[in-house]
């Protein structure tokens, strides 16, 4: 049976992990490859690397880093952040990335989704959507959640599926960073309306939140950052807990 996926997300700036990572046994907690290796060894099903470098130099470093990760890591990984063209994607896939995550540039030019899906196959096109619920309405936001658009989450999600997205990575801005659980109602609606896998992001604080996101939110995968980075949740323990709650996971 296909299992639910647990995915740690690493923020990368100029080739280094940022936002704080706290593993005593690591020689260098800032080195994304070391971290990736640890996560791969201790139960992560996939990894996401989010490039938050703003400089051209940072982007070049990112390419080298992707190649370095691909050489050492034997599970799939997605790279996101600032990807806006076929050439960008071609580059990252050639360095060994398995999937790319596209957010703002898909909103600015939706045809990009069709082009990427046609050229590289939908399996490597993850569309990330940041949305915020304002007075009951889920509104899509641009540029790392800083700029609101006129678009509704569910309409946009349906459109990106139609254009050839292979997966949707939905981050609830209301839940992100709160550690109070995922946006399960919106996730369940996405999962029931769409026919592609939904990755849940934003709000993980404890194991129960993961149980809920799979049972109530009907998500196919769940992403978290700080609870994993700071060792608050060990992935293998989490998976045991999920298994005890009749959620299929991989060991």
């Amino acid at each position: 049976m296909l299992t639910k996926r647990i995915i740690p997300c690493l923020d990368i700036k100029n080739g280094r992990t940022v936002k704080g990572v706290n593993f005593v046994e690591l020689r260098d907690a800032g080195d994304p490859v070391e971290l990736a290796r640890r996560y791969a060894k201790f139960g992560a099903d996939e990894l996401v690397f989010l490039d938050i470098s703003a400089t051209i130099e940072g982007r070049k470093t990112m390419r080298n880093m992707v190649a370095n990760i691909a050489q050492h890591i034997n599970i799939p990984f997605t790279v996101g952040g600032g990807i806006s063209s076929i050439a960008d994607v071609d580059d990252l896939l050639h360095c060994g990335a398995d999937k790319v995550s596209i957010n703002s540039s898909a909103i600015k030019r939706p045809d990009l989704i069709n082009e990427l899906s046609d050229k590289f196959g939908n399996q490597c096109v993850v569309i990330a959507i940041d949305a915020k619920q304002i007075e009951g309405e889920w509104t899509v936001h641009l540029a790392g959640g800083t700029i609101p658009t006129q678009m509704n989450l569910f309409d946009w999600a349906e459109e990106v599926e139609g254009r050839g997205a292979g997966e949707i990575l939905f981050t609830s801005m209301n839940n992100d960073g709160t550690k109070t659980g995922f946006a399960n109602d919106a996730l369940a609606k996405l999962s029931e309306t769409l026919n592609i896998p939904i990755i849940a992001s934003g709000g993980a604080g404890n194991a129960q939140h993961f149980i809920d996101v799979f049972k109530e939110g009907k998500a196919d995968a769940a992403i978290a950052a700080s609870v994993f980075h700071f060792g608050e949740i060990e992935i293998l323990d989490l998976k045991k807990e999920l298994k005890n709650n009749n959620i299929e996971v991989r060991f």
């Binding site: 049976m1 996926r5 099903d45 691909a70 034997n74 799939p76 896939l93 939908n122 991989r250």
Partner: protein, 193 residues
């Protein structure tokens, strides 16, 4: 060990090369017929859309070369599907190595199947030291139906062939190069065939 990855423009060649590198083998990629014929082992990868991949194979004449190869050949994902008779994707005629058709998952499940699923009914040295119900990483929207050439099955909407074998030809629907330690064991087994 001389391992050659068939390079016809469709495939995640880098990931496969890196996976062999981790096993201490430098796999080269080539579309040169002589290089392919003299290799010890051949990997036939594939990612993307079936009909355009088949067009690329035909343009390079590889559609004639691959079925004639005598050494062990391992098709991965779309590579395996192209070795079948026919695939519904782009209404494409395959290389007719495995006597089975490839169909699309219908509506009962999310498509593509994306993630870790178990393989079972393991029936080949390719799966030496692999336990029943081991997890493998799958990404696909089409599947090879239950058939005689099957050496492993998986379950997603239907029970289907997750690996195939005929003579020196092997095919796996999952990605051993991305399937952690167990995937590495399968690649190692292939090298030892």
């Amino acid at each position: 060990m001389n391992v050659v990855i068939v390079d016809y423009g469709a495939g995640n060649i880098k990931s496969i090369q890196f996976a062999f590198k981790r096993l201490g083998v430098d796999a080269v990629h080539s579309r040169n017929i002589e290089i392919l014929k003299t290799a010890d082992k051949i990997i036939f990868p594939g990612v993307g859309e079936a009909s355009s991949a088949m067009t690329m194979l035909k343009e390079s004449g590889l559609d004639q070369v691959i079925p004639e190869l005598k050494q062990p050949v391992l098709g991965i994902c779309l590579g395996m599907q192209l070795m079948c008779n026919y695939t519904e994707e782009g209404n494409t005629k395959g290389l007719e190595i495995f006597d089975v058709d490839v169909k699309r998952f219908k509506t009962g499940v999310k498509v593509p199947q994306m993630g870790w699923n178990t393989i079972t009914d393991l029936k080949s040295d390719l799966f030496k030291n692999i336990k029943d119900l081991e997890f493998m990483y799958f990404v696909h929207s089409y599947y090879a139906a239950y058939c005689e050439a099957m050496i492993a099955t998986a379950n997603y909407e239907y029970l289907y062939a997750s690996a195939l074998k005929k003579d020196n030809f092997y095919g796996v629907q999952f990605h051993p190069e991305k399937s952690s330690v167990a995937g590495e064991q399968i690649l190692k087994n292939f090298l030892e065939l």
